[in-house]
């Protein structure tokens, strides 16, 4: 396997006039991994993907796709990439089969037609239907087939399961995992956290044109602070607990103390051993809570959950 990563962005900047869409995106996606790209609307997900395909040109920074510069060698990049746009629109005066043939011809007919039919079959897509009669979900299936059918080395998918029912979403996850096990790299943007948890090996969260976190879904949860609730047999002074490294007291009422713990629990457990503990509960925020903190409140709230 070549040494270079599937995707690399260093300080990627994109300005639209006075609007700063990307403010220095740093990203590295390894070959053969499924990488989730999360962020709220307008965070810069689509802009980042479109820079990778030379549909728009960065205002600054560096971007490499499969070791190639998309601005210098766009054809070589696109020949190895399957792309699904976030807002998929297709020419309406064709059948599905004709549209897929057209996309295959744009690839110089280097498409396995049998595999194309199999993909359509997996997704329950009738290729004899006219595009203009397709529902949004079925159009999305056409988009997925055209992205996958050339067995590209890299899949850039902007909201791949948008408009699909839960059963079809499962089929798409399976197809992406299959593509990945055959050596392809999958880079997809999504709003759906369960989707990211289900298939992504690593995740980046983008907000206001910057990557604010990059880790595996499991690591993100690990990195989050625990919330600990302790009930004592009798009233206690919680101040020794607040002096333990990484522990802060959130509230104290009657016999109950609520704490926030960063890092290991060791210090807290040793401190609690000296007190008359009746009950102890510990919880971590869910991945969804972590993302929502990044999405909604900015760095300050995100800091509450992760360190």
């Amino acid at each position: 396997m070549p040494a270079f990563p599937a995707l690399r962005a260093d300080g990627l900047i994109k300005n639209y006039g006075s609007v700063r869409a990307l403010r220095g995106v740093d990203l590295e996606v390894k070959r053969g991994e499924i990488f989730g790209f999360l962020g709220p609307n307008g965070a810069g997900k689509t802009t980042t993907i479109r820079c990778m395909l030379d549909l728009i040109r960065p205002s600054g920074g560096l971007i490499r796709v499969l070791g190639l510069d998309p601005q210098a060698d766009p054809l070589a990049v696109r020949a190895q990439v399957g792309y699904l746009p976030g807002e998929l629109n297709l020419e309406s005066n064709m059948t599905v089969s004709e549209a897929l043939s057209y996309f295959a011809q744009l690839r110089g007919d280097r498409v396995d037609r049998l595999y194309m039919s199999q993909l359509a079959e997996h997704l329950a897509l009738d290729i004899d239907n006219s595009i203009k009669n397709l529902s949004r979900g079925n159009k999305q299936k056409v988009g997925l087939v055209q992205a996958l059918m050339a067995r590209p080395h890299l899949l850039l998918l902007d909201e791949p399961t948008s408009g699909l029912d839960p059963l079809m979403q499962q089929v798409v996850y399976r197809l992406l995992q299959e593509a990945c096990s055959n050596g392809a790299t999958v880079f997809f943007s999504s709003h759906i956290i369960s989707e990211v948890e289900a298939i992504a090996g690593r995740v980046a969260i983008i907000r206001e044109g910057r990557i604010v976190q990059e880790a595996s879904p499991g690591q993100l949860v690990e990195m989050a602070m625990r919330r600990v609730s302790v009930r004592f047999r009798e009233p206690v002074d919680p101040s020794p607990l607040g002096r333990v490294e990484g522990v802060s007291v959130l509230s104290h009422a009657d016999n109950q103390v609520k704490l926030q713990v960063a890092g290991t629990m060791d210090g807290l457990i040793k401190a609690l051993a000296l007190l008359p503990v009746q009950d102890l509960e510990t919880e971590r925020p869910s991945l969804e809570e972590i993302f929502l903190a990044y999405y909604a409140g900015g760095d300050r709230e995100a800091d509450i959950y992760a360190h």
Binding site: L55, R78, A79, G86, N93, F103, L106, Q146
Partner: protein, 281 residues
């Protein structure tokens, strides 16, 4: 490039080529059928003398209406830059930008097709579409011509279609360039269409007012021969029109190379954009 050429010609423009061809064939056949009646009109000179002088000036060859060349010019080649021009301007302005506004271009350009290949494929299909329509028109004049008493060879019939073809290409290319400069294809269609009509009127009015005669020299229609090309082509005029068309097509290519492809929808200009453009110019 070949895929885009074929797809544009046979998919995107097919309906319009067929529709316009049918309409123009019927119109041409009707004109050919009427020619014997017009050429044998009695008291034609008295009839023409009753026309206002301005009308005779505007339609230069109206006084020759009883001859094949005069008839062709007055009833076909005089109007056709305007009539087929509407089709050509519509296609030219939508050739690239309409797909961008519909959000289709994004996915096409994500495939291994170069911008140059896509541009050339579509422009060549556009040229071929105009060529097919004019070819069909030419056949519908030249095949029944002898039966109608129009004693012109097939080559003589073909000649005036050549400057018409180049003039139409010129306005189509102008529409294409304007679509890449202005914020929306609709606006580009409106502006190019207005320029086409203005140029047509100016050409007619320049025959009536000497002050306009200088101005018309700087417009494409001045170099359009009309049916007088039956007797021979003005190669200098053709080359001038061809050169302007080529420059416009190259300008369109440069603009498309540099273009940031939008996800979809029409662009709009804010006052800041307008001031920026004014400052640049």
């Amino acid at each position: 490039m070949r895929t885009e050429f074929r797809h544009t010609l046979l998919r995107r423009l097919r309906g319009q080529i067929v529709g316009w061809s049918i309409g123009l064939v019927l119109y041409s056949l009707m004109l050919v059928a009427i020619f014997p009646t017009v050429s044998q009109m009695e008291d034609l000179e008295r009839f023409l003398a009753a026309y206002p002088e301005e009308m005779l000036g505007f339609f230069e060859m109206l006084t020759e209406i009883h001859t094949p060349v005069g008839y062709l010019d007055t009833y076909f080649f005089n109007y056709m830059p305007l009539i087929i021009g509407i089709f050509v301007v519509g296609i030219g302005t939508k050739l690239l930008v309409a797909d961008e506004e519909r959000g289709v271009l994004d996915l096409i350009l994500a495939h291994p097709v170069s911008r140059t290949g896509l541009y050339l494929g579509r422009v060549l299909a556009f040229i071929a579409a105009i060529g097919v329509i004019l070819m069909v028109c030419w056949l519908s004049w030249t095949v029944p011509a002898r039966q109608a008493g129009m004693d012109l060879s097939w080559l003589a019939f073909l000649r005036p279609f050549i400057p018409l073809f180049v003039l139409l290409l010129c306005f189509g290319a102008l529409g294409l360039v304007l679509s890449l400069v202005l914020p929306a294809a609709r606006l580009a269609s409106m502006v190019t269409g207005a320029l086409l009509v203005a140029n047509y009127l100016l050409r007619g009015l320049a025959n009536l007012d000497d002050r306009l005669a200088t101005m018309i020299q700087y417009t494409p229609m001045h170099y359009y021969q009309g049916a007088t090309a039956v007797d021979g082509l003005n190669w200098g005029w053709l080359a001038a029109l061809g050169l302007v068309t080529t420059v416009l097509i190259v300008a369109g290519w440069v603009l498309f190379q540099r273009r940031e492809i939008r996800v979809g929808g029409e662009h709009s200009w804010s006052l800041t954009d307008v001031f920026r453009l004014l400052r640049r110019s």
